[in-house]
């Protein structure tokens, strides 16, 4: 057992995905099975091996002049917003229950 139901509840909260209790059960099972399959990675002798975080070695930093260029217009940026108001993204109230909840 690598992760308990309690761990999985914690991960779900951290990644902001609301899972129902039966989904937590199933996910606990799946994650344990997948993590078990990753065991080989813990069994290699990797003493002194440098990690490679990126497949292209020896890349130089890419620099450019700091010139202002137009990106999205406000209209384009808002085009796919589920809710917008006065040219801004609209979200739910940040704290509390917006009058209806805790």
């Amino acid at each position: 057992m690598y992760v308990t139901k309690e761990d999985v509840r914690g991960i779900a909260a951290y990644v902001r995905i609301g899972l129902a209790e039966d989904e937590i059960d199933e996910m606990t099972r799946d994650l344990n099975s997948i993590i078990k399959s990753l065991e080989p990675i813990t069994e290699y002798d990797l003493e002194g091996v440098e990690p490679t975080f990126h497949p292209i070695a020896g890349l130089a930093n890419v620099m450019r002049d700091d010139v202002v260029e137009s990106g999205f217009t406000q209209e384009e940026a808002l085009a796919n917003a589920p809710e917008a108001e006065d040219g801004q993204f609209k979200i739910a109230t940040i704290l509390g229950g917006g009058g209806g909840g805790q």
């Binding site: 080989p40 990675i41 091996v49 497949p55 589920p82 704290l95 917006g98 209806g100």
Partner: protein, 517 residues
């Protein structure tokens, strides 16, 4: 004249250019032929398309025809003038929906086009539509798409592979001349293999990923699928190169078509072809795959290449390294789906926290949720040093294996997939599904290029079998040269025979190795 379906499906890119120049047909006729083929074969049969873009295709076709009328040749208009092209639905195309096969992006309208798409369009391609895929490219069968199952044109009861399943199936069915896919661990090569088309994943950095929805940014690469080596080479020429919007993209001289031509004309005499004996003894590799590879090896020998036996001692670590690195990067990349700027938004929530949690729960499917949660776990403090860091160290060992291998060989010849296309639902265990990519994943880990080349139908399954040709990093010319030479040794149908579009017959799982199509 109008193009018949049979005529349309045999056209290569070179045929299209010649036909346009001789006025045998117009770009508008090509577009209509593509649309007719889709009408005939897609809905309820192959189901490769998530949406079509007839206005964009018509506009592009008219532009090509106008330039022809004005006296330009097809070649002067662009490498892909009049070529019907489909896009995996993780590629932004202005004027289309880009869903990534997810409910999360069901309503998402692209506000710009990906660089690879823009380049294809400016080369004269006709954007015909957007193609089905595993949700956010998480899968090897296209079964995790939130919208539909795409069927393998060689046997509608089987999966097309994945995650670029729609891209492979649409080309194999004859609906498109070429398509674009993306490949993080085999997602171009494996579906190309299952559907019997050519699929090319260039070296990491050859094609810009800007505008292609990211899965694992250190592994993702865009590439073409088509019915011949020459066609995928031309598409790569059209879409490759440095893009200021993707700092990993490299200055690449577009000589892919030239390399393919060299393979056809001059052959591969004197080239060194590496074979990996351990691959053929690997557990779970179907005998017909081993046989097909052995035949391909005979062909390269008869073409004058020399054979070298290669060892890749750390290859067995690639799969677990991939299933650490992939989910970690996906966890990070998919944090952007917050239902604020775009994406599915749940109703009836009381605060921002619930808005995030309910929207992400409602928008993401189970495989996506699994990978996000796995990535989060693997990156958590205390766990990071057990999996993530060693996975990146393993990446060094695998890369070094490849570098040593390519001191001895100019290309490696391997299987693409341990077996041919499987049935819907046949592999339901997530870890078992992961095994279908054992031969393709190491290539992404090392950042090299590789191509999936059809070599006929399997002796047992009767389904398409391909072999993989892997090249040294950024020497993708080697791959295309060998692939084009080897292609001349086979006489293979370029599209699935219409007979395989018959109503699926009831077949039991035990008749798996039985002979379909």
């Amino acid at each position: 004249m109008t193009l018949s379906f049979a005529e349309y499906t045999t056209l290569s890119i070179a045929d299209i250019q010649a036909g346009l120049n001789k006025r045998s047909f117009s770009a508008c006729e090509l577009m209509h032929a593509a649309n007719d083929a889709i009408q005939l074969l897609d809905e309820g049969k192959v189901d490769a398309f998530l949406s079509t873009t007839p206005e964009l295709a018509l506009e592009a076709a008219k532009r090509v025809d106008a330039e022809l009328t004005a006296g330009k040749t097809a070649g002067e208009i662009g490498l892909l003038a009049g070529v019907p092209l489909g896009l995996k639905d993780n590629m932004n195309l202005l004027g289309s929906r880009t869903t990534c096969g997810s409910r999360m992006l069901e309503q998402y309208e692209s506000t710009y086009s990906a660089t690879c798409v823009r380049k294809a369009q400016s080369a004269g391609a006709l954007p015909i539509g957007k193609l089905n895929m595993d949700e956010f490219a998480f899968g090897s069968s296209t079964e995790t798409s939130a919208y539909k199952m795409t069927h393998n044109p060689w046997d509608l009861e089987r999966v097309p592979g994945g995650s670029s399943g729609g891209s492979a199936a649409a080309v194999a069915a004859g609906m498109l001349t070429v398509s674009l896919g993306s490949d993080t661990g085999g997602s171009i090569r494996q579906p190309a293999s299952f559907c019997g088309v050519v699929g090319f994943k260039p070296s990491y950095g050859v094609v810009s990923r800007s505008g292609v929805v990211a899965f694992a940014s250190s592994l993702d690469q865009v590439g073409p699928l088509g019915r011949s080596v020459a066609d995928v080479a031309v598409v790569t020429d059209a879409i490759c190169g440095r893009d200021p919007l993707d700092c990993t993209s490299q200055n690449i001289v577009p000589q892919f078509a030239q390399s393919a031509l060299a393979g056809q004309r001059e052959g591969i005499k004197g080239m060194r072809v590496g074979i990996i004996p351990a691959y053929l003894e690997a557990e779970g590799v179907a005998p017909e795959i081993v046989l097909a590879l052995a035949k391909a090896v005979k062909h390269v020998e008869s073409l004058g290449a020399s054979l070298v036996e290669i060892e890749l001692p750390h290859d067995s670590a690639a799969l677990s390294a991939y299933y650490v690195i992939g989910p970690c990067e996906a966890f990070s990349n998919l944090s952007r789906f917050d239902s604020v700027r775009y994406g599915y938004r749940a109703g009836g929530v009381r605060n921002l926290e619930e808005l995030y949690e309910q929207s992400r729960a409602g928008g993401f499917g189970v495989e996506t949720t699994r990978r996000i949660m796995l990535g989060s776990y693997l990156l958590s403090s205390g766990v990071y040093n057990t999996y993530y860091y060693p996975a990146q160290q393993v990446r060094t060992l695998i890369t070094e294996d490849y570098m040593r291998a390519f001191e001895q060989a100019d290309v490696l010849l391997t299987p693409v997939s341990p077996r041919t296309a499987f049935r819907f639902g046949e592999i339901s265990n997530p870890t078992a599904m992961h095994l279908s990519d054992i031969f393709t994943i190491p290539v992404n880990i090392a950042g090299n290029g590789a191509l999936s080349l059809p070599v006929g139908l399997g002796e047992q399954s009767g389904l398409p079998v391909s072999i993989q040709i892997i090249g040294p990093q950024f020497k993708d010319a080697n791959i295309l040269r060998v692939a084009a030479a080897l292609e001349t040794c086979y006489d293979i149908p370029r599209v699935a025979p219409p007979a395989s579009f018959r109503q699926p017959q009831a077949q039991t799982l035990s008749s798996l190795e039985g002979g379909a199509a």
